[in-house]
Amino acid sequence: MLKNRPEVILMVYGKGGHAAQMARFIDRAPEELKNKQLIALTDVKTKDKLFSHQFYCVEARDKFSYIKNLVVFVLYFFWALAQMIHILSKYRVITMISTGPGVAVIPAIICRLFGIKVIYFESWSRIFTPSIAGKIMYRIANLFFIQHKSLQKFYPKSSFFGRL
């Protein structure tokens, strides 16, 4: 059964600006990339027609409170793990691409454990300071893009190719 899984690219992103960056990334992508089957793992609940299948995951952290964060993270950890088991049993993921934020961390670790390459975009909102998700993903991702050159000093091995 595992042999006949369809090949897909896994797109992982959070709501708001992260979803906007993902939409722009796909919109301007060359046909060769658009023609691949794309699936999504996201905390956005509304279905996006860009993807053949969309999996839901809760957010990795609470934006307004430190105390809630621990509970939220534990919930996120198990949720992301369960969804990744589901995804990897159904599809052969050839690459994971993420525009952040923290929702990408657990899927990225699992992808790397299975030898799947991970591409990460530090958010366009990061200009003078790196994000927590970015600092973690810098260590996990095979290819790490920054969208402002000013971040190069925090991420010496990152790539800058303009802004989404």
């Binding site: 909102s125 095979n142 802004r163």
Partner: protein, 150 residues
Amino acid sequence: MKIFVTVGHTHYDALFKAVDEQLSPEKYQVINQISDGTYFPENHKYFKYTPQLQDEINNADLVITHAGAGSVFYLLEIAKPLLIVPNFDRIDNHQKDIADFVTQNNYASVCYDLEQLEKHVLASVNHSFTQYEKNNFCGYDKILDIINNA
């Protein structure tokens, strides 16, 4: 003056309170997109979200926005008269980076003090700003290399 206030997907009650208290309905026609906020404006129209966001933006003379990157970059790209009010209720520095970036490059007006909101509204329409020029992402080949060698 027609003003549209938008906060994307994060709540920002303090901003809507300041708008409601400082921008009188006689002088300003304001429409507020309050997201899941719990302050409900009394002097102006409001809604949580709209599928017609573009129309609201086009109809406004000025857009007041939180410093969310999605909203800010989009509005700078279409060269909309803009006032940015960073949301410091949030625990990360996310909005400060964008606000400082816009201030340093003189792309738009930024209000760091909600008590001075009306003054900044007037400055946003009266001052001249530097046109934002975007450097489009061109790294797709590097990504295709990885995909095709997977």
